[in-house]
């Protein structure tokens, strides 16, 4: 090999390693870009309105002559909605996961797991659409309400949407428990069900907690499906009333907003982002402790 060829090869190598370094570091850039843009766009309105009035004001009337920008109704709706979705979705997902991970035969898993993947892959607008056509009218007739579009409808749609992620992460956590635990417990005379619920589930509890937190993150960030079933009136949350979530507050007014109203919408997004960052931090801690990889 002559000298010029070697230096040519060296320079290709240097260029390649620089390019890969840039491609790696650019991801930090993306996160910073999102943070910086949200803070630049979101902070001014919070300062103008006043952080206390903004976060704890109970009235949102952005287009009124004397506009009010209190987002407490949205924050509480998001929290209640997410909590409701977890209350319904967690038991359903947890028991399904234990069944699939421990009891189901290979054949059953072979059929059911693709179905759960499908549930995870269905676009959120499709959930919203079905919720709008099936759930909302049935809630209206079942509870004798003037309109079925309510927090309750949103909770059910969210519960269905977080179900696949709860099931899948829980299955991974349950399967990560060493088989010796199971064999030991069986040898001591516990039957299968007792073994699963008193030995394996406690051993997998960090992973299952991670599944719950993942579900919380999904539910609090969901916009389109909720927008189609929750009614979108800026009320304080109540189970059978039309409500607006943090996400839908941003989405529903963005297209016609202007001035301080628009800035306030970005502030709502900033608040949502802060929530999500806290949830992500919790999730990372739990995943590390559970020894489960995020899928």
């Amino acid at each position: 090999m002559n000298l010029s060829d070697k230096s040519n090869k060296d320079s290709v190598e240097t260029i390649a390693s620089t390019i890969f370094l840039i491609l790696g570091v650019i991801n930090i850039g993306f996160v910073l870009l999102i943070c910086v843009y949200l803070i630049i766009a979101g902070l001014p309105a919070i300062v103008k309105i006043g952080p206390i009035d903004f976060l704890f004001g109970t009235k949102w009337a952005s287009t009124a002559a004397d506009p009010k920008f209190g987002i407490l109704p949205f924050i509480l709706t998001s929290i209640y909605g997410t909590a409701g979705a977890i209350i319904i979705g967690l038991p359903l997902g947890f028991f399904s996961a234990v069944y699939l991970a421990k009891i189901a035969s290979k054949k059953v898993r072979y059929v059911v797991e693709p179905l759960i993947d499908l549930l995870a892959g269905i676009p959120s607008v499709v959930y919203g659409f079905i919720g709008m056509l099936v759930l909302v009218p049935s809630i209206r007739t079942l509870f004798g309400l003037p309109d079925g579009a309510s927090l309750f409808a949103a909770i059910i749609v969210l519960a269905v949407m977080i179900l696949p992620s709860i099931i899948k992460v829980s299955i991974t956590a349950l399967e990560a428990v060493p088989q010796e635990y199971e064999l030991g417990s069986l040898a001591l005379g516990a039957n299968e069900i007792e073994t699963y619920y008193r030995v394996i589930v406690p051993a997998a509890k960090s992973g299952i907690a991670a599944a719950v937190v993942l579900g919380v993150g999904r539910a609090i960030g969901e916009a389109m499906a909720v927008m189609m079933v929750a009614g979108n009136a800026a009320n304080m949350p109540s189970l059978f009333e039309s409500v607006r979530f943090l996400t839908t507050a941003v989405a529903s007014e963005m297209s016609y907003s202007s001035g301080l109203q628009r800035e306030a919408l970005f502030s709502i997004a900033l608040v949502l982002f802060v929530f999500i960052m806290m949830i992500n931090a919790t999730l990372n801690v739990l995943l590390k402790r559970g020894g489960v990889k995020r899928k």
Partner: protein, 294 residues
């Protein structure tokens, strides 16, 4: 699982409390898995049964016309294809490159941790926030206006974590001996990666692409403010620079704002089928590759 070693549930010697506990939990599990499976079947059947009467060649191959009062979904299908194609072409080198850096090049463990944390953060950010930032950055700051291009760039940032994660996983399955062997023969790093490592993990990259495409197909909140609502029929170059509704956005607009449920059902059925296909491909491809490796 040791199926033959398990004692049967119906042992008569169990005290009443324990057998009640077991049976209660077991029925609970059967009930829950039953509800879950029934839910999936209900969703699939409901959408398909309501959509099939409205399927026609016309609705799939025309654009909406106010003059004739007809609705067609062809522009939405094309927009979706343009959008997913563009986003995949851009995200592929970005994601694979980042994964290669993390796995093959990075020397400082601290930097790797920071980048991995950044990627995890990207994966957790809800799509509505991507939509807002995409609108501020791509549509306004880079003045791309509301266009499919702005939409696909937003989707690029959104789906980078999927590509990085799947590529990284398959990079980790390449045995270190391959790398050491290549180095021992005098290969430089990039040459080694290009000729030895990458060919071994094509499968992971393809799976990542399928998963990312599936996610892009279903995305709507991020596209609402970046890609727009238009239903015009365009070629690729015109289409990518002008505003256009994807299938999901079109479904939202038809169902929520215009009350056109027939076409909304047709779109929902198309999305369901696409989702089924991407899931199936990802699984089948993964299984196929596992077999080849063994």
């Amino acid at each position: 699982m040791s199926d033959n070693a398990k004692p049967s549930l119906q042992q008569k010697s169990l005290p009443f409390g324990r057998s009640l506990y077991s049976h209660a939990l077991q029925s609970c599990m059967l009930l829950c898995i039953g509800i879950t499976v029934a839910l999936v079947f209900f969703l699939i059947l409901y959408i398909l049964i309501r959509a099939i009467p409205y399927f026609s060649w016309e609705i799939l191959t025309t654009k909406p016309s106010y003059l004739r009062g007809t609705i067609g979904v062809l522009p939405d299908i094309l927009n979706t294809i343009y959008l997913v194609f563009t986003a995949l072409v851009i995200v592929l080198p970005l994601g694979v490159g980042a994964a290669i850096y993390l796995n093959e090049y990075a020397k400082s463990q601290k930097l790797v941790k920071v980048i991995e944390y950044a990627v995890e953060t990207l994966a957790g950010i809800p799509s509505i926030i991507y939509g807002l930032v995409g609108m501020l950055f791509f549509c306004q700051f880079l003045s791309l206006q509301t266009s499919l291009l702005a939409g696909s760039l937003t989707l690029v940032i959104m789906s980078i974590p999927v590509i990085i994660r799947t590529t990284q996983e398959s990079l980790k399955t390449v045995p270190n001996g391959y790398r050491e062997g290549a180095f021992g023969l005098g290969s430089a790093r990039w040459h080694m990666i290009r000729t030895v490592v990458l060919p071994c993990c094509i499968d992971g990259i393809v799976t990542g692409c399928i998963l990312a495409a599936g996610r892009m197909l279903g995305e709507s909140a991020a596209l609402l403010f970046t890609a727009g609502f238009a239903h015009a029929l365009h070629g690729y170059i015109d289409g990518i620079t002008s505003s256009g509704a994807t299938l999901t956005v079109a479904l939202y607009v038809y169902a929520k704002e215009q009350g056109e449920f027939e076409v909304a059902f047709v779109i929902a059925a198309i999305l369901l089928v696409l989702c089924f296909i991407t899931n199936y491909l990802a699984q089948a491809y993964g299984r196929h590759m596992k077999k080849i490796k063994q």
